[in-house]
Symmetry: C2
Subunit: 515 residues, 2 copies
Amino acid sequence: MNYNINSVGRQIPESIPGIGKLVPFKGEGNYLRTENKTGAKIRYGQRDERKLLSSIEEAVKKSGLSDGMTVSFHHHMRNGDYVLNKVFDVIHELGIKDLTLAPSSLSPCHDHIIEYIKDGTITGIQSSGLRGKLGEEISKGILKTPAIIRSHGGRARAIEDGELKIDVAFIAAPSCDEFGNINGRTGNSACGSLGYGIVDAIYANCVVAITDNLVEFPNLPASIGMKYVDYVVKVDQIGDPTGIVSGSIRFNDNPRDLLIAQNALKAIVASGLYKEGFTFQTGAAGSTLAVARLLLDKMKKDNVKASMALGGITGYMVKMLEEGYVDGLMDTQSFDLDAVRSIRENEKHFEISASDYANPNNPTPAVNTLDFVLLGALEVDTDFNVNVITRSDGVINQAVGGHQDTAPGAKMSLILAPLVRSRNPIVLDKVTTVCTPGESVDVICTDYGIAVNPNRGDLIEKFEKAGLETIDIKELQKKALELTGKPEEIKFSNDIVAVLEYRDGSIIDVIRKEA
Amino acid sequence: MNYNINSVGRQIPESIPGIGKLVPFKGEGNYLRTENKTGAKIRYGQRDERKLLSSIEEAVKKSGLSDGMTVSFHHHMRNGDYVLNKVFDVIHELGIKDLTLAPSSLSPCHDHIIEYIKDGTITGIQSSGLRGKLGEEISKGILKTPAIIRSHGGRARAIEDGELKIDVAFIAAPSCDEFGNINGRTGNSACGSLGYGIVDAIYANCVVAITDNLVEFPNLPASIGMKYVDYVVKVDQIGDPTGIVSGSIRFNDNPRDLLIAQNALKAIVASGLYKEGFTFQTGAAGSTLAVARLLLDKMKKDNVKASMALGGITGYMVKMLEEGYVDGLMDTQSFDLDAVRSIRENEKHFEISASDYANPNNPTPAVNTLDFVLLGALEVDTDFNVNVITRSDGVINQAVGGHQDTAPGAKMSLILAPLVRSRNPIVLDKVTTVCTPGESVDVICTDYGIAVNPNRGDLIEKFEKAGLETIDIKELQKKALELTGKPEEIKFSNDIVAVLEYRDGSIIDVIRKEA
């Protein structure tokens, strides 16, 4: 096998059977394409054809799904999803083989499909994440073709540019009418935004809506319009509501997370980006949620208002919107019941697709309008590279999500992480897997101090002026090692189990099987 | 020149210089394509590039517009539009030549561009309509390449399938933020739905928003999102509000129109399609508006409710929505101030694109969900073909609009027309120009009786059962001739000035220069 070394120093094979030629990552903005986007298959609208079918089996048959094709699912049902497993039970029953499964992400509830990988029903997976036992098994190499891991923006780009061609998209639909007007706002399985599913519905050659809530036509507003949908299937349940959205995502008063969050807030204020009309994204993880809470307190005190909050939306953002501390929310994914209610009730809580959110090959993906973003990390290294996909033992168990997209998009990206987690150092010499390149990671906030990327001289200056103490990343690493001792090195074989795409389609890293 | 005779008996040249090979019309649903849709040029989102430019001239230059390219505009500014003329003044000033102008439609206010056709700035036009002096001049053959006339659905199809490639779309934006989030809901030039502009923004290789109402980011809800928009230009005024929307479109009690409307209502009731949950489209013309009023009266009396009203939306439909007589409106075009207010306030008044509305190459364009549609006509003939584009003297002065799309989409299409207009017979042996083929025209309601297409035996039976008197179309024609005398035959030359596409891309007729 011949290799190229990419711009973050990783060995990338020239090509991989079943995937093809790999373009090594060359740095943000250096792998541009100028051809045209692609589109779905043209389907003439048969006026009197009834879309409503009696079973998933009928839909799979009518969709023309056959060996070697690619199917997609959105992950708005999260760990409560029933649809993906149900569809694969049917596909397996029908004896269709060699499929590529290309969902926007996967959750532990999808461990069920391990058997379908082992029996050749599924031979390729392309996803933002792989979790649970499925991640472990894929890390052992059970998949015929290595998995392709893409960010949310990278996936939207791959679909729109024609790199990822979806033959059949199965759309879990919390509400749907007989013609296929879909939204995620009502029903037992309401999930709020359908941001990921929208891209699939527009670009797939065939779209099957699967709903447990068939409502009267017209189901308005439609997040996915009937013009995209070929078939509608009614089932008893598309998901477990408790797994789809949290009742309420709240910060639990973990003192370490609070300390990290306080450091992050200091950095935000010192950066000068915190001012009237600012824009931001926080995640739904412990310390980033804590920042959201601290930030709102500070905004109230200072009477500073934001213009836009982006991303996965939680009750904190909804509170800001409803109290007038942010003018609008752009929502690709609604995390809790407050967010679902808000997107239903408030037109300033605006549903956007994954392409609107983060596709780098659009004039303005929403991530490009961010002042700052708060992100997590499994590992960071002294080059500021971030790993959010593999555990310290090299096993895939998380997701890239919007990490790779928001970090370069925002004027300042902040990584929030403890210095040590479960006795493993988080700041390392080299991360196990590079997901987000150091060039777009600006600030690392830990419980032991704040490190700033030396390529951000402007920020270093601002932090100094503001009297904000920072620490060299190498000092952080040293501290981490003092606390944990040198971690045991994992030995990897040459067998590649997954390829990690950068959002532009080049390859930023590969994941190898443990030796 | 070699010709083919198409399925409505019209002579269609095999090809035309500047347009290419022409496919003769073969009947609805008989010219299907199975390739994939196209897409816009991939544009990498430069994070720090400022979109807001200081002038239209700067935008035209940055867009890369050059000789031979195609530019588009939407027609939501209707006869109040300032944008198209302003942009062409700049283009002319810059000396760019040989452009194809491909707006969704044109109004009399665009007579201004006649000089730019004469001097070679514009050498091709593709539009749903041509009116006023511009229509007259084009009918005389001033355009280098014959005009292409498409329906609203046909245009969306042509754009999505790649037949009509837009190099630069100029989007008149009643409200817009600095990143290009656009809607038509607020501002002095508010026009309501931006249904036609949405398709252009998605598929054009470069998109320039021109606004007189630059609002704070984020402008939500965005009808056209910032991901599509390359540049934003602020100007003083994009249109004359009085020309954009009517204060209120109301039926003026013309007794002839009322008689026609009463006949139409009888046909609707007799058809059996008038029942709980029905769907319909009416236009904004005299007699179709009268039907809307009569229909609402009847619905109130019978306590029958509709599920959906489609199309160009007027205050009548808004009234129905607000009084609970229709569950939802799907709006490609808002005709009056009530409609603009309603689309802003009510999420059940839902904005749809021209592609959602009528692109035949989608699984379900909204027209396919119609029970009945009310349409006008300049002429009909004894084969039920309808002309909505040329006057009886052969001059182009109207628009195809959604006529060709709704007629085959709806379960019953009703043409409302007086038997005689300005001393010209409306029912003829052969229409001057076939816009909508007789096969999809079901019922013709005149002030002298109702004619039913013989291919609709089911309707004839229902009308008979209901005791609704009908008249043979040939009898209608005879009556018309008795009233007007035989009209003088116009002599046409062989010079083709316009090509009339069917919605599927085949050619249903050509328009020739008067001899």
